[in-house]
């Protein structure tokens, strides 16, 4: 009887599961993303202003190198993109968009520096599943969030705000986009500001 019972169950399972399509890749990826829910839009106080010299920093990248803001002085404009955390919904589809817009940044002689308070291995795993990014991804993990704190975008729970800083070739801050953490910054806002630097 037991054998017949399990055989019946297996047959039914096979028929029902087999009737469905294989799970979509995106659906599978959705399972990897931790939904943090809706957060307080902004939870920090800026420590820098437009027109001021941007505080320099040196951070380790997912490529195993160290990158300093001053490396780009007199060479290119810099878009610093702070994101709150890896493996979270909006962050996971913000930087891949900058991949598509690589030509727009290049045309404006601009590099992007992506910064998160996650550690290097976490950022490496996260950006690898995005099929990689053309720009350096930097870890502000230790001392925890020190660079985010310098700019005044470290939130009370230890993650960074979703913020954009545009720095010109002289190292001056030309634009600050302190975004509601729950909303992705529109690409055209960044491009519009970059156009002003040409």
């Amino acid at each position: 009887m037991k054998r017949m019972f399990w055989a019946g169950i297996l047959c039914t399972l096979f028929l029902v599961v087999g009737a469905q399509n294989a799970p979509a890749v995106t659906e599978a990826m959705k399972k990897e993303i931790y939904d943090i829910g809706k957060l307080k839009p902004i939870d920090s106080e800026l420590k820098v202003r437009v027109g001021e010299q941007a505080p320099d920093f040196t951070l380790r990248s997912t490529a195993g190198k160290t990158v300093s803001l001053s490396d780009f002085r007199e060479k290119s404009n810099v878009v610093i993109s702070f994101i709150p955390a890896a493996w979270t919904p909006i962050c996971s589809d913000q930087w891949p968009g900058y991949n598509v817009a690589q030509d727009v940044f290049r045309k404006n002689n601009t590099v992007v520096l992506g910064i998160s308070v996650d550690n290097v291995p976490t950022l490496f795993a996260w950006t690898t599943q995005m099929d990689g990014l053309w720009f350096p991804v930097l870890s502000d993990f230790w001392p925890h969030g020190a660079v985010a704190k310098k700019f005044g975008v470290l939130r009370s729970d230890g993650v960074a705000e979703r913020a954009i800083f545009i720095i010109d070739k002289k190292g001056r801050i030309r634009y600050i986009g302190l975004q509601d953490i729950n909303v992705r910054p529109p690409l055209e806002d960044i491009v519009k500001e970059l156009d002003k630097l040409r």
Binding site: N21, V25, L187
Partner: protein
Amino acid sequence: MCKTLSVAAALVIGLCLQSSFVSAEEPQSDHRNVLMKLKLSVPENQKDREYLGIKNSSGKMSLAQIRAEVLIIEIFSMYCPHCQKHAPTANKLYHAIDSRKEFRDKIKYIGIGVGNSKYEVGIFKQKYSPPFPLFDDGAYTIANSLSGIGTPHYVGIRTDNGSKFEVFYSKSGGFTDAEEFLNMIVKESGIQRGGSR
């Protein structure tokens, strides 16, 4: 007796699982309502307007205005890495439709950038050169109303040139073989039979 019990137990479990399978299909009615009310900007490109059979050169249009018996919609996002990777395969679907003269005028294919602005959709278009019209969802209608879907997400609608609006397919995820996907759409829509599904 034992045999009867086993079959009954298996059927009960099967029915439970089947009901969850059916509930996965339910959002299609929500999708129908959202998509039917959706207002999109008329394409600026004349070639796109001609492809869709849209006479106005500006303003808003609905999906029901598209001259087609079957409409395939790819809901994508410029920001979605899977949509970026899928873009060349998505383009092949257009060519697969175009290469079959029996479907060329009956099946139309568009993309809607969910939560993407016009500018962002333009960047995607520049990068991947899709031969089919792309629309933005600047008003966040899809983003807000169909928040549960993953991208890319494909929707198949039987419209019969505006006389009906029947969502027969709605699933997240792309496809690997455009011909195979087109054959599935043809079969599921019932278009080949000429009549209603």
